[in-house]
Amino acid sequence: MGELSKKKILVVDDSDLERELLIEVLKGSGIANDFLQAKSGEEAIQILGTRYKEIGMILLDWQMPQMSGMEFMEAVVKVPQVAKMPIVMVTASGTDENKKKAKTVNPELAGYIVKPYTPEALVQVLKNYLK
């Protein structure tokens, strides 16, 4: 997992402010990776399609217009080149049933963080992969 520390983190969220907050929190917590941003599932698919070799992890919102985070994840797990890429869901929708649904779609789900989150909770999940 060590090589993930050299790769970029793709942040997918329709809220500019949530993306900014997430990156700010991670940078402030010593995560030195570069970031890519997408404000929709479709945009994230495009980025992933062309730059997947640069990307080591995806932080993914659930509720987004058109393609939701769950639909994005369903698409990703079907593509062998990116199927094992760690995905952390960062969502306002934080019930156990939602977590179960996410795990069903992606049994390799790297984490499930509920907004609003504490910086510690976010960093803890990422550090398991980025250290």
Binding site: S15, D16, L21, E24, Q63, A92, S93, N98, P116
Partner: protein, 195 residues
């Protein structure tokens, strides 16, 4: 011929849950307290062509208002068909939105930029709607599906989706800074089954 609508008898209970969700969210996220308890008002829904009217001027006199809405659905199939069971609409005056988001520890943004203001109101609505959804489930109700947020400034010509069997809603008025009304949340929700 008039048909009686199946009005949600638990509307007030749900409004109380939402009120507590918002108070808890502000305390946890920003250690912020409202300067007086929220004022809950039951009101009639103004419907136009099957959608609920959304108008900031009804909430804040003569102030530019940012408005965001998140819909709820009983399941994914209803969501695909836009058959909403409820909606949460958040109204915040333009001149207070940046301060409110700062209180909630979000990064500073350009408060002269319409897109940034819309986005921040949507972000606020999203976390409120998510917390309410979780608290509803904790109170024993069925898990709801949640839509992405949509944003408006001052009003929405086309209104928002709502549960068509409902004719009443709740306005939750929140007061900050010397008892000034700084946020209104509208809740319209139909019958949500217990788990």
């Amino acid at each position: 011929m008039m048909f009686a609508k199946a009005q949600n008898k638990e509307l007030e209970t749900f409004a109380q849950i939402l009120s507590q969700s918002v108070i808890a969210l502000f305390q946890e996220r920003g250690q912020a307290s409202f300067s007086q308890p929220p004022k809950l008002e039951q009101k009639n829904i103004y419907e136009y062509e099957g959608r609920m009217r959304v108008d900031g001027m009804e909430k804040f006199n003569n102030e530019a208002t940012y408005i965001s809405a998140v819909n709820y659905y009983l399941n994914a199939a209803d969501m695909a068909k836009h058959k909403a069971i409820g909606v949460v609409v958040v109204y915040v005056p333009q001149d207070y939105l940046a301060k409110m988001m700062k209180t909630l520890q979000y990064p500073l943004f350009d408060d002269d930029n319409d897109d940034a203001l819309r986005d921040s109101c949507g972000t606020l609505c999203n976390i409120i709607a998510g917390r309410f959804k979780s608290d509803m489930k904790a109170a024993g109700y069925q898990e709801l599906e949640m839509s992405p947020f949509i944003n408006f400034r001052n009003s929405s010509f086309s209104g928002v989706e709502f549960c068509g069997s409902e004719f009443q809603k709740y306005d939750l008025n929140f007061f900050l800074e010397n008892n000034q009304k700084k946020m209104v949340i509208e809740l319209s929700i139909g019958i949500v089954p217990k788990r």
